[in-house]
Symmetry: C2
């Protein structure tokens, strides 16, 4: 990689950051909290969204853009619960902003309080792509092992919250919730932690309150900006 390549890459990155910041601000002005869910394959992003939709009821209006390499399996699960758009990357290992914009166009103008973006299942590459989210949430399931934060530090460092998922399986797996939290806090001290089982409902109400509070703070922040 020569000096010219590095300069071009920096310019591309800066352009992407500006684009994401502008879109993030637009979402905030509309009162839409954007939540980017990232995790390993099968950590339970779709199951968490199913449980969230059922528990949230009509408190907030939700919608989801679902990223996958192939198939619309996750979208089929979520379609009955909230407005859903499948984003198929055609093999790419993460979502990027242009594909998110196409998803937004497909969603149309319906009012949305929380827009979830369910990223491709991958604990590495999605860490490097800003999708204009206000909150990045990384799921780590109890079945993956409590050593994952240190092994995948960038996705932990760039997240705002961590969901420890599949807590119903804790009696059956060698996993310490305290260890995984300590490992993650060492990398990102500002993370909030949410212990959730989408199967037995543990922690789902607390997680919904977290989302509701984030949505409330977003709209308060925007009003404060408008008043100043």
């Amino acid at each position: 990689m020569n000096a010219n390549t590095i300069v071009v890459r920096r310019e591309v990155n800066e352009k992407q950051k500006i684009d994401a910041d502008e879109l993030r601000q637009t979402f905030a002005e509309r009162g839409t909290l954007v939540v980017n869910l990232v995790s390993s394959p099968g950590a339970g992003k779709t199951a968490l969204l199913e449980a969230t939709a059922k528990a949230m009821g009509d408190r907030l209006r939700m919608a989801v853009l679902v990223g996958d390499l192939e198939t619309d399996r996750d979208a089929q699960r979520l379609q009955p619960l909230m407005p859903t758009v499948q984003l198929t990357t055609g093999g790419a290992c993460h979502l990027e902003l242009p594909l998110v914009r196409r998803g937004l166009a497909a969603l149309g103008d319906q009012p949305v309080d929380i827009l979830f973006i369910e990223n491709v299942g991958n604990l590495v590459c999605p860490a490097s792509f800003d999708l204009a989210e206000h909150v990045r949430v990384v799921l780590v399931s109890t079945t993956e092992g409590d050593d994952k934060p240190g092994k995948y530090p960038k996705i932990i460092r760039t997240s705002h919250a961590m969901v420890v998922s599949k807590t119903d399986l804790l009696p059956h797996v060698p996993f310490s919730v305290d260890s995984v939290i300590a490992d993650a806090e060492r990398i990102q001290p500002e993370l909030t932690f949410h212990k959730v089982s989408a199967i037995d409902g543990t922690g789902v109400e607390e997680w919904c309150r977290f989302l509701t509070e984030k949505h409330r703070a977003l709209t308060v922040d925007v009003r404060e900006v408008e008043c100043s």
Copy 2:
């Protein structure tokens, strides 16, 4: 991407393929079977290697190159069981051949019957990189959900064998072994399947026999080539 870019990329890909084929042949001539283990984070690659080392005893001499973004946690677990070299990618989402070559240099000239390469935990990107392996093995754990093959088809299509790992958790998770096998066979009909629990030992002996047979076939093939 313009036409020149495409031509350059094709040449790079062809060069990588030739390099990998040459190294694969060198391994075969030395009687070393190379097994590239790929999976999501936490599907149990390291646990499978621990169980394999204990079950295999002194039947075959094994060594491992362990790929991770950061930390040497997996290498620390395997070091007591077989010669182990940690390959740290510094954030990159997969292993590539030049890093494998550096690992080989660190291993030195000791005779090895099976060289495992434990790839970075990622069900997407490692699919695209030939590490000179003779056998690519994809692990899908019972806790990830039985819908994963269709959602991550390239890694299934490029694999020779699939280990369904963590079978001890089958009573506790919504997972059908028949469904995951049917989904994978639709993508890659030549896969072999191995149901394994590194915790309770289920299937470990069958998996060791599979490796032993692959090693035997490799050395027979090489002898046949030499005689012709």
